[in-house]
């Protein structure tokens, strides 16, 4: 037994992690290109401005993921004996707080524009020396963004499911919210084209709501993570059955009379304690070590399982909430 060992991802998951990094770099490249496309056609449209900021904000999760994958699997040190898995959670706490604030500010901004009755002027843009309505260029840029968003979301979700990676799932979800926002911006520009000036600020308000929602969903997820929540299913709030399965497996051991389990999820991995009431106390040390190995093998995400023999367990079942 060695404490402070490095967590070994199984080969399939290692492959998926490499894929995560590749997808994140791809996201960065493509999202940068969409941000440039939107910036070039920005004009004075509120919806375009909001879509552009959302585009920029969408760059942050891939950056966080690339850094997290590098840091989280560092060997535990004397100073950080539990390893670096929480680094991902801290990164996401910051990101989601920023999303929430930026979204709230943009929402306020666009609602104020709507109340003031601010009318967005969209004039012409020279294309091959001919002045065309800049709205067409905006719509073209936004259509490109929608295509990229759909593509990235589709590439990321299967990987996130295989890795049970909430961060990547949240990132994919943000891509989806992003392309829906860009669709809303297209509607806003078309409405301006038809002389409906409120379409611009209304589309911007819709996009800001999307950003607020992104921030809120991520914040809730990361706060539960930092609160040592028991493992939950990907993208859901329902608890996983893993603690129950570990407990059942422990109680099936011939020398165990009763068992209690508590688990917590740190980023990609799971750690926790198993308390056992032994039926026989012979060979206890060897039995405990063997039990730890057997129980760890139940799920690849288990990083450390402390097995502790106790003389009795009172009230092993905790209240549901």
């Amino acid at each position: 037994m060695r404490i402070g060992r490095r967590f070994q991802f199984p080969p399939e998951q290692q492959e998926q992690r490499r894929k995560t990094v590749r997808l994140s770099w791809l996201s960065l490249a493509l999202l940068t290109s969409t941000a440039i496309a939107v910036y070039l056609t920005l004009g004075q449209s509120e919806a375009m401005k909001t879509a552009w900021i959302e585009d920029l904000l969408a760059l942050v999760p891939p950056i966080a993921l690339i850094i997290a994958v590098r840091i989280e699997n560092r060997e535990p040190t004397e100073r950080f004996p539990y390893g670096y898995f929480r680094a991902v959670s801290i990164a996401f706490l910051v990101i989601s707080a920023v999303l929430l604030l930026a979204g709230a500010w943009l929402l306020f901004d666009s609602v104020m524009k709507l109340i003031e009755g601010a009318r967005a002027p969209i004039g012409t843009m020279p294309v091959f020396g001919r002045p065309i309505w800049a709205g067409w260029a905006m719509i073209a840029a936004l259509t490109y963004c929608v295509g990229i968003g759909v593509l990235l979301g589709r590439l990321k979700l299967p990987v996130a499911e295989k890795l049970n990676d909430r961060a990547l799932a949240a990132d994919a979800d943000m891509n989806k919210a992003g392309w829906m926002s860009e669709g809303a911006a297209i509607v806003g520009i078309v409405l301006i084209g038809y002389g409906r000036w409120w379409g611009d600020a209304a589309a911007a308000a819709f996009i800001s709501l999307n950003i607020v929602r992104d921030g809120w969903v991520n914040l809730r997820q990361v706060v539960t993570d930092l609160m040592d929540e028991s493992p939950t299913k990907l993208g859901e709030t329902e608890l996983e059955s893993l603690p129950g399965r570990i407990r059942a497996a422990a109680e099936r051991l011939p020398w165990v009379e009763k068992a209690a389990v508590r688990l917590r999820e740190s980023g990609h991995v799971i750690a926790g304690e198993v308390f056992l009431v032994p039926r026989v106390e012979e060979n206890l040390v060897a039995n405990v070590e063997a039990a730890s190995e057997t129980l760890c093998a139940l799920d690849w995400r288990i990083y450390s399982l402390t097995v502790m023999p106790v003389s009795r367990l009172d009230g092993a079942d905790m209240p549901r909430h």
């Binding site: 004075q44 009318r119 002027p121 012409t124 038809y194 000036w197």
Partner: protein, 162 residues
Amino acid sequence: MPPTARALRVCCCLAALASCGLPRDSDHTLDRIRGGELRVGVTEHAPWVTVRDDRMDGIEPRLIEELARGLGARTVWRRGAEAQLLEALHRRELDIVAGGLTADSPWKGQVALTRPYFTDTTTGRTRVLAVSPGENAFLVHVERFLAPRERRGGETPDVGER
């Protein structure tokens, strides 16, 4: 035909249909001006706008007269201070304001500034006209009118810079 191809064709047809006569004005400014009157706000600012015996002259009023002729409209001039005129423009009480405005005017959030019709190559300063915001058909019309008349450098007498 696969569904994506069909969706694409439908989208193209819709886009083609939709693109007729876009953008439109929020307040039908261009339709109103055609054959009607063009309400112009002017601030004296030589050489862009000069006033001699109550007659408007200078580079910008000459451009606006030509614009009005093209639209079959007669011009109604209103003189005033820049801030006063631009506020009236924001409220859509005027259609266009001339006063040697530059593209970096602090008013650019309140009114619609056109693309520059003149760029000073030594200072990099660009001269624009201002139209009421949200009247995008009119804005596009004015910019299309200005595009072939755009000048650069010292072709224009550079005097009277305030």
